[in-house]
């Protein structure tokens, strides 16, 4: 038998669900203290998420997509990027965005029905949320291509879900990353479900990481609830990209602990046992246990930090709640740099109507 090619998909995990090391930690984490600020960010995101859901439940926010359970993956991705890199999120990677400077109030503005939520104060060049699934993977590839052509030492990182990995745009992104050897990291955040459709119904592939083989990319599967594995996986992918060695597909194995969004009721389609089992792999207790064992974290610290998080999130929520609705002309004002005459006439008419009513 003649063999034309062989492939192997590696899986990374360093901290088991109980927080005990399941393998030797990478050198970067020889000192566990390096993990502490990231852990604190994970807690912050969870506070933000909890309060956002509550805000939606009381009618003060539109549909909101929770990130419950994804904290290690999101924070790890964000922490692995440089400010000048470009991030292309889908719609729930708040942790990654906070690490890049996006304000929680901006997230709230967006889900609160206000375009100003996309006008990130920082980072100015990141892509905004992308509701059309996986389309931003291709924009990230375009950004990576721009960096390569301009010989800028930057890379692009895009996220999509397990469902999103079925989207043709995802395939197009990995195909072009391979064709042009682009500095692109495609993060497939496999949380088990695409709304009601389980991972098993999306594809016959054994892993989602292996999709990268189709484009000749590097492929890696990591435990997305293990921050160390996430960081190590991202380190390998970003280093390769920076070295001109092309793109990577990383699959992060995690779980969506909440409903798909606040408009969804997951009890219609998945079992309580499955969710119960998934809580045992929750990334936060895992890292907490590890840090506690390393004497870096305790209940007192947790309490103080939780309070701090609460205050910070509340301030953000207030900023959002106090924001004034944009004037009617805002819907005309950002369409063209140089708006056509007819559009300006419609704008004037809308303003006039507004004054009358």
């Amino acid at each position: 038998m003649t063999v034309a090619a062989t492939f192997e998909i590696e899986y990374l995990q360093y901290l088991g669900p109980d927080g005990k090391p399941s393998a030797d930690l990478p050198a970067a984490f020889a000192d566990p203290a390096t993990l502490l600020p990231l852990f604190k960010e994970m807690l912050f995101v969870r506070t933000f998420d909890t309060k956002s859901i509550a805000l939606q439940r009381t009618g003060k926010l539109g549909t909101y997509a929770s990130c419950l359970g994804h904290e290690a993956t999101h924070i790890g991705i964000g922490a692995s990027m440089q400010p000048e890199d470009v991030f292309a999120p889908s719609y729930r990677e708040y942790g990654a965005q906070f690490m890049r400077g996006v304000h929680p109030r901006e997230v709230l503005m967006y889900w609160g029905g206000d375009e100003r939520g996309n006008d990130f104060e920082v980072p100015r060049h990141d892509f905004s949320w992308s509701v059309p699934i996986s389309t931003q993977c291709l924009h990230a590839a375009g950004a990576a291509l721009a960096f390569k052509l301009r010989r800028e030492p930057r890379l692009a990182v895009a996220c999509c879900g397990d469902g999103g990995s079925s989207k043709t745009d995802f395939y197009a992104a990995l195909n072009s990353a391979g064709a042009y050897t682009l500095p692109l990291v495609l993060c497939v955040i496999n949380n088990g479900w695409a709304i009601s459709v389980p991972r098993s119904a999306q594809t016959g592939a054994k892993t989602l990481a292996q999709k990268g083989i189709a484009g000749g990319l590097h492929c890696l599967q990591v435990d997305g609830n293990d921050l160390v594995a996430v960081m190590e996986g991202m380190r390998r992918a970003t280093e390769r990209a920076r070295n001109g060695d092309g793109g990577t597909v990383i699959e992060f194995l995690t779980y969506r602990l909440h409903d798909h969004t606040t408009a969804d009721d997951a009890r219609r389609y998945r079992s309580e046992e499955e969710v119960k089992e998934a809580w045992k792999r929750d990334p936060i207790p895992r890292l907490r246990a590890f840090l506690a064992a390393s004497k870096l974290w305790d209940e007192k610290k947790e309490k103080a930090w939780a309070e701090e998080c609460g205050k910070r999130v509340d301030a953000e929520i207030n900023a959002y709640l106090e924001s004034k609705v944009q004037p009617v002309e805002a819907m005309f004002d950002y369409l063209y740099a140089d708006p056509p005459a007819d559009l300006l006439a419609q704008r004037a008419a809308a303003i006039a109507l507004e004054k009358r009513t």
């Binding site: 539109g62 549909t63 719609y91 967006y110 889900w111 609160g112 029905g113 206000d114 375009e115 949320w129 509701v131 059309p132 699934i133 469902g163 999103g164 079925s166 989207k167 043709t168 695409a194 709304i195 009601s196 459709v197 119904a201 999306q202 594809t203 408009a263 969804d264 219609r268 389609y269 609705v325 944009q326 009617v328 805002a330 819907m331 005309f332 369409l335 007819d342 559009l343 419609q346 809308a350 109507l353 507004e354 009513t357």
Partner: protein, 351 residues
């Protein structure tokens, strides 16, 4: 071709009516329930009908349009698809070409653009391309339009992308009864149909919709209200505002006729022309942006064929030529009753 009044005589069609369970005519239902009822009727009576889309299975669709169908007909009749609209469109064309009658769902209007290629290059051409050897009896259901405080890309009125496409039928019901009858007709039609569902009025009101398997014709406009002074033409969710505007106008002594276009392609222009021949005035109301929206075609036909009947310039009351804003501002984008009334009064004052 002639107008069908609000409760038109129905064409008898569809097969296997003997298999019908007694119609529950005693419980009024909403527009979306009428869609579910039509799907269930046709699935029961025609084995070749299959439903496919994202989350249409155990979840019953994000709007619940397919609620209970997988439980009832099994997962070989109601298929969850991988998350890709190109896939949905392409599989649908392939199945339809091989003798099935797929009813595909695009989860939201804003996600249907990747389907354009398979619709325009293949679905609408199989018959003409092969001189009738193959054809494409598919329906694409698309929840349509704004006003439900949804996130970005969930509120689009994009029918104008399809109204210039030969070989296609484009349908948009605006009442539970029309939703039922037009969906049955769409599924039975041997050619591709895009069936837009005005999601803002999915649950606006209930009416009795006998589950009798009777389809409605796919080429007539519906006169929802008779009037003598002015003709208001609209479709989809804007039927609500337009009827309200007619009420307001009546209060002021202006008798407005209200026409629900219902099937945009092919357009039953005769019904509109007959009305305008009587009233001499016409206001077209739609949610989509004004420029090159489907209202333009109706106004153009008036300019071509009803010019001598027109006593006043045609008016269009539409979405602005912008994207519908996120929901804090969206109601200021959608044509309001006030804007329709103002346009009608301008038309009454002119000429």
């Amino acid at each position: 071709m002639s107008a069908a009044k609000a409760a038109p005589a129905k064409k008898a069609s569809g097969k296997a009516t003997e298999a019908a369970t007694p119609a529950k005519t005693d419980t009024p239902i909403t527009l979306i329930e009428a869609i579910t009822q039509a799907l269930a009727w046709e699935m029961r009576n025609d084995d070749s009908v299959v439903v496919l889309g994202e989350d249409v299975g155990v979840n019953g669709g994000v709007f619940r349009a397919t609620a209970g169908l997988q439980q009832r007909f099994g997962d070989e009749r109601v298929l969850d698809t991988p998350l890709d609209e190109t896939t949905i469109a392409g599989l649908t064309v392939g199945m339809a070409a091989q003798g099935m009658k797929p009813v595909a769902e695009a989860q939201f209007d804003g996600f249907m653009y990747p389907m354009v290629d398979h619709i325009v290059c293949h679905a609408v051409r199989l018959r003409t391309r092969t001189r009738g050897r193959l054809h494409c009896p598919m329906v694409l259901r698309v929840p349509w339009g704004g006003g439900i405080r949804a996130p970005e890309h969930h509120s689009e009125a994009n029918e104008a992308i399809f109204t210039n496409v030969p070989g296609l039928r484009v349908v948009m019901p605006s009442s539970p009864a029309r939703a039922y009858g037009l969906l049955l007709a769409a599924i039975r039609d041997p050619d591709p149909v895009i069936y837009f569902e005005p999601k803002r009025i999915y649950r606006q009101y209930k009416e009795l919709v006998p589950d009798d398997g009777e389809a409605l014709p796919l080429d007539v406009c519906y006169v929802l209200r008779d009037g003598d002074d002015i003709t208001l033409v609209t479709w989809g969710a804007q039927v609500k505002e337009t009827l309200e505007a007619a009420d307001r106008l009546a209060d002021e002594g202006i008798s407005a006729e209200v026409i629900d276009v219902a099937t945009l392609r092919p357009l039953d222009f005769d019904t509109i022309a007959e009305s305008v021949a009587r009233t001499g005035r016409c206001v077209i109301v739609h949610e989509a942006p004004k420029t090159a929206g489907f209202g333009a075609e109706i106004a153009a036909r008036l300019a071509e064929e009803s010019m001598y009947d027109l006593l006043a310039p045609v008016e269009r009351v539409t979405g602005y030529d912008t994207h519908i804003p996120l929901f804090r501002l969206e109601m200021k984008y959608l044509p309001s009753v006030d804007r329709v009334v103002a346009a009608a009064k301008r038309a009454m004052a002119a000429g």
